[in-house]
C-alpha cells in the first residue's frame, strides 16, 4: 500500500473483530472472539498516526512500544513486530485478549478523542498469535551465572519473573501449589475467553528454551516455608496472587448452592467440570442463577453459567434457565472489560443493577431457594471517586434463585506468610513491597502482582514480575546489594 497521509488514515474506520454467533457460542466453550486476519490487521494498523508523543503508551501499565510494533506490522515485518513487543511485554497473545484496553492503551489513543481508537489490543493479539505459531523470537539464554532463584506462584507475575531470570542465566525453580502452572490464567479465566493452548504455549516455551524447573504440588508455607527456601536459594520472588475468596456477611451463605466464583470457576476451568463425566469433577448450576458482582470474575461466572445451562438443557430437552447478574451500583460503574460486558449481554444475561442481597433463603433440606434483596440508589462519591450505593428503605423484595455465586473480590492467600519472619503485610493482607523493585521488607525476598496490589490485572502483574526480575538480576550480579 502506498504511504497514506494523516487525513487518509483518519478516514479509515476501526475494524471489527469477527465473533462466534451468540446463539452458537452459548452451546460451546470455544473462543468467542476469532481474531483479525492478516489483511484486516494490516488495514487496522494503517490507522495509527505514529504520534511523536504517543499517548497510548502512557496508558499502558508497562509502556508497550505501541507505535513501533504497529509500524512493523503494517510494513509486513512480523518478526520485527514481535521483537518490539517483547521489549516490554512477554505475554502479548494473553494481554491482547484480556487487558482492559478501553481504560488503558486504547483509552488514551489520540484517535479516540474524536472517533474510535486504534484497536491496539486486537493488533497485539495478532502479533502474539503469530509468535506462538512461528516462534520467531527464540529466548536467548545468557551463560550460567551459578546463582539460583525460587519463584513462588506460576501466574503472570511469577511466569514473567521466571522467564526473565532464566534468560539472564540464573537457575530458576518455579513452585506451584496446584497440579498445573498458569495461575488465574488457567483456573479462573475461561477457555472461551483465553484458550489454554495460548497459556501452555508460553509455559512450554519457557520450560523448553530456558530449562526452568516447575515443581507442581508444592504449597509454600506447608511443603516448604519461605525461610526454608531462603536456605536453598539466593533470591525468592513471591507471585502468589490474591486467591482467597470473600463471602458476604449475610445469613444463609453456607446453604447448598452458594459458592464463591473461585470455586465455581475452578470446577469449570481447572477441573474441566463442563466436560463431566469425561472429567471427574462435577459442577452444578441450577435453573435460576444469581451472580453477585460485576467485575471480570463475575462476568466469567455468568457466562460459564449460561453455557452450562444451555448444554444441560440440550441433554434434558428442558428450556434453559435464567442467569442474573446482581450488582449494587449502576451500569456506568461496571468494572469489567467493556467487551465482556457486551458479550455477556448478547449471550442473554439479565442485569439487575442497583440491587443488593441481604439474605439467602433456604428450604428445609438446606438448599438455596431464594434471595432477599434491597434496591439501591447512588449517593455521594466515595474515596475511590465512584458514587457509593445507598440502600432504599422499604424496597426489599424476594427473588427466586437456586444458585448464588459470589464474585466479590479476593485477597492474598496467607499460607505463604507462614514462617516468613519479617515479611511485612498491610492490614488488607497484601505484602509490602517497593513498587519499582519489588523488594519486600525481608532480605532477599521480592514480591509482585496481586499479592502486593490486591486483585488487579494480568498486565500489571506481568509488569511487576518483570521489574522484580530486573532488580533480582542486579542483586545476584552484585550490582544492587540489599541495603
Amino acid at each position: 500500500m502506498a504511504e497514506l497521509n494523516q487525513k487518509e488514515r483518519m478516514k479509515i474506520k476501526r475494524h471489527d473483530m469477527p465473533n462466534q454467533d451468540p446463539l452458537v457460542r452459548r452451546r460451546n466453550y470455544d473462543e468467542v472472539a476469532l481474531g483479525y486476519s492478516e489483511a484486516t490487521a494490516k488495514k487496522e494498523a494503517e490507522r495509527c498516526l505514529q504520534c511523536k508523543d504517543p499517548k497510548c503508551v502512557q496508558g499502558c501499565p508497562v509502556g508497550v512500544l505501541i507505535p513501533q510494533f504497529i509500524k512493523a506490522l503494517r510494513e509486513g515485518d512480523m518478526v520485527k513486530a514481535v521483537e518490539w513487543m517483547k521489549v516490554k511485554n512477554n505475554l502479548p497473545a494473553i494481554c491482547g485478549r484480556v487487558c482492559p484496553q478501553e481504560t488503558q492503551c486504547e483509552g488514551n489513543c489520540i484517535l479516540g478523542k474524536k472517533g474510535e481508537p486504534v484497536a491496539i489490543g486486537r493488533l497485539e493479539r495478532f502479533v502474539g498469535d503469530f509468535e506462538l505459531a512461528h516462534r520467531t523470537c527464540p529466548l536467548a539464554k545468557a551463560a550460567p551465572t551459578g546463582k539460583n532463584a525460587a519463584v513462588v506462584g506460576s501466574g503472570p507475575s511469577g511466569l514473567t519473573c521466571a522467564v526473565d531470570l532464566g534468560r539472564e542465566g540464573h537457575k530458576v525453580t518455579l513452585f506451584e501449589s496446584l497440579h498445573g502452572p498458569g495461575g488465574v490464567l488457567v483456573y479462573g479465566i475461561p477457555e472461551f475467553r483465553l484458550p489454554k493452548r495460548v497459556v501452555y504455549g508460553e509455559i512450554n516455551y519457557a520450560v523448553e528454551c530456558l530449562g526452568i524447573d516447575i515443581k507442581i504440588d508444592h504449597v509454600i508455607g506447608r511443603t516448604f516455608t519461605l525461610d526454608e527456601l531462603l536456605n536453598d536459594y539466593d533470591a525468592v520472588f513471591l507471585g502468589t496472587g490474591a486467591g482467597l475468596p470473600s463471602f458476604m456477611r449475610i445469613p444463609g451463605i453456607n446453604l447448598n448452592g452458594v459458592m464463591s466464583a473461585n470455586e465455581f470457576l475452578t470446577r469449570v476451568n481447572l477441573m474441566k467440570g463442563y466436560l463431566f463425566p469425561q472429567y471427574d469433577t462435577p459442577v452444578k448450576v441450577g435453573r435460576k442463577v444469581a451472580v453477585i458482582g460485576a467485575g471480570n470474575v463475575a462476568m466469567d461466572a455468568v457466562r460459564c453459567s449460561l453455557r452450562l445451562q444451555t448444554l444441560h438443557s440440550r441433554k434434558t430437552n428442558e428450556l434453559p434457565g435464567e442467569v442474573h447478574m446482581v450488582y449494587r451500583r449502576s451500569r456506568d460503574e461496571v468494572p469489567a472489560r467493556e467487551e465482556e460486558f457486551h458479550h455477556a449481554g448478547e449471550e442473554g444475561v439479565i442485569f439487575d443493577f442497583l440491587t443488593n442481597p441481604v439474605e439467602i433463603l433456604g428450604d428445609e433440606k438446606g438448599n438455596v431457594k431464594g434471595m432477599r434483596c434491597i434496591r439501591m440508589r447512588l449517593g455521594e462519591p466515595d474515596k475511590s471517586g465512584r458514587r457509593s450505593p445507598v440502600p432504599i428503605e422499604g424496597s426489599e423484595f424476594e427473588m427466586e434463585v437456586d444458585t448464588v455465586i459470589m464474585a466479590l473480590g479476593t485477597s492474598p492467600n496467607p499460607l505463604v506468610f507462614v514462617e516468613a519472619e519479617g515479611l511485612e503485610r498491610t492490614k488488607h493482607g497484601t505484602a509490602v513491597a517497593d513498587p519499582e523493585t519489588g523488594r519486600t521488607r525481608k532480605m532477599r525476598v521480592w514480591a509482585g502482582g496481586d499479592v502486593v496490589t490486591g486483585a488487579a490485572t494480568v498486565i500489571s502483574a506481568m509488569g511487576a514480575g518483570k521489574r522484580a526480575a530486573a532488580d533480582i538480576d542486579k542483586f545476584l550480579k552484585g550490582e544492587a546489594p540489599w541495603q
Binding site: 501449589s177 496446584l178 497440579h179 515443581k215 507442581i216 504440588d217 508444592h218 504449597v219 506447608r222 511443603t223 486467591g243 482467597l244 475468596p245 463471602f247 451463605i253 453456607n254 447448598n256 448452592g257 459458592m259 464463591s260 473461585n262 470455586e263 475452578t266 470446577r267 477441573m271 474441566k272 463431566f276 463425566p277 469425561q278 472429567y279 471427574d280 469433577t281 462435577p282 452444578k284 433440606k365 438446606g366 438448599n367 492467600n413 496467607p414 499460607l415
Partner: protein, 287 residues
C-alpha cells in the same frame, strides 16, 4: 508422578497404599492430609496422612471406596503412578499430656486416629481407644491400635465381632465413670458418627476434637468449597482445620453440604463402570 510402592487390601473396600512423595514426607505430621489426583481426568480428593517415613520419603494413605475416585484408586497396583500428590496440608494435631484421653475411630477413620493415638501415648497420656465398624470384615488395624492404647474397645454395628453397639455407647460409659477422669476426646469417622460423639460429650463438657471431611477442591484456601459453619461464623476446613472443636460445629449444615453432589457422584460411577465394561478390562489409573 508419584509411584505406588506398596498396596495392601485391608478389607473389600478399604485399601492401604504407600506412595513415594519425599516432598510431603519430609514435613508430614499426624493430623495433616494430602490432596491426590489420579490422572489428567481426575478430581482432587483429600486423604489423611495415616503414616509417613521421612527416610524412605513415603506417605501411607488408607481409603475407603465410596465413589468413582476412591474406587479407581483402589484398582491401581504397586508400580503404577499417580499424577499429583500435594501436601502436607492443614494443621497438625496439637499433642500434649492431658491425662486420660479417649480416641474414637469409626470405619476408615481408624486410619487417621492411629497416628494421633500413638503421639498421645508417646506424650505420656493414658490412652483409651474405641474402634468401630459396620461389621467384622471392615475392621482393620486392631493390633496396631492395641499396641498404642492402654485399653481398647472394639464394636461392630451388627455384633459380628467385639461388642454389638455404636462407638458412642462405650464412650458415654467412660465419661460417666468418674474414676476414669476423661480429659479429652478425639473422634474421626463418618460425619454422622462425629456428630453423635459430639452430642455425647457435650453435656459433660469434655473437650472433643473432630477431623472434618468436607468436600474439597484445592485444599489451600482458594475456593471456600470446604467451608463449615461454626458457632461464630464460617471457616475453611483445609486451612483452618481439619481439626475443630466438635461442640462448635453446625453438624446439620455439614451433613447437608456433603449430600450436594450425590446425583453427580452416582453418575460418575456409572459412567466409569460403563467405560470399564466397554474396554473389557478394569480401568487403570495413572494412564
Amino acid at each position: 508422578m508419584y509411584k505406588i510402592l506398596k498396596k495392601e487390601v485391608l478389607s473389600d473396600i478399604i485399601k492401604l497404599m504407600v506412595i513415594h512423595a519425599p516432598h510431603v514426607a519430609r514435613k508430614a505430621k499426624a493430623g495433616q492430609f494430602i490432596i491426590v489426583r489420579i490422572n489428567e481426568f481426575g478430581e482432587r480428593i483429600p486423604l489423611t496422612i495415616a503414616d509417613y517415613d521421612r527416610d524412605a520419603g513415603t506417605i501411607t494413605i488408607i481409603f475407603q471406596e465410596v465413589g468413582k475416585s476412591t474406587m479407581q484408586l483402589g484398582r491401581m497396583e504397586t508400580g503404577q503412578e499417580i499424577s499429583s500428590f500435594a501436601g502436607p496440608l492443614g494443621h497438625p494435631t496439637e499433642i500434649e499430656n492431658y491425662g486420660t484421653v479417649v480416641c474414637v475411630g469409626g470405619g476408615v477413620g481408624i486410619a487417621p486416629i492411629y497416628p494421633i493415638a500413638r503421639s498421645l501415648k508417646e506424650a505420656g497420656n493414658s490412652v483409651i481407644s474405641i474402634i468401630g465398624s459396620r461389621n467384622k470384615d471392615l475392621l482393620f488395624w486392631e493390633d496396631r491400635m492395641r499396641a498404642v492404647s492402654d485399653e481398647l474397645i472394639v464394636c461392630t454395628d451388627d455384633g459380628s465381632y467385639g461388642r454389638r453397639s455404636l462407638v458412642t455407647e462405650p464412650l458415654k460409659e467412660l465419661i460417666e465413670n468418674a474414676d476414669k477422669k476423661v480429659a479429652r476426646v478425639w473422634a474421626i469417622g463418618p460425619a454422622i458418627m462425629m456428630k453423635f460423639v459430639s452430642l455425647a460429650t457435650a453435656p459433660y463438657n469434655v473437650p472433643t476434637t473432630v477431623s472434618l471431611n468436607t468436600i474439597m477442591i484445592d485444599g489451600t484456601g482458594m475456593c471456600g468449597g470446604c467451608r463449615v459453619l461454626l458457632e461464630d461464623g464460617a471457616r475453611f476446613v483445609c486451612v483452618d482445620g481439619p481439626e475443630f472443636d466438635a461442640h462448635k460445629v453446625n453438624w446439620d449444615s455439614l451433613l447437608s453440604r456433603l449430600q450436594f453432589y450425590r446425583k453427580e457422584e452416582r453418575a460418575a460411577v456409572e459412567h466409569w463402570q460403563h467405560k470399564c465394561r466397554l474396554e473389557g478390562a478394569p480401568e487403570e489409573g495413572g494412564k
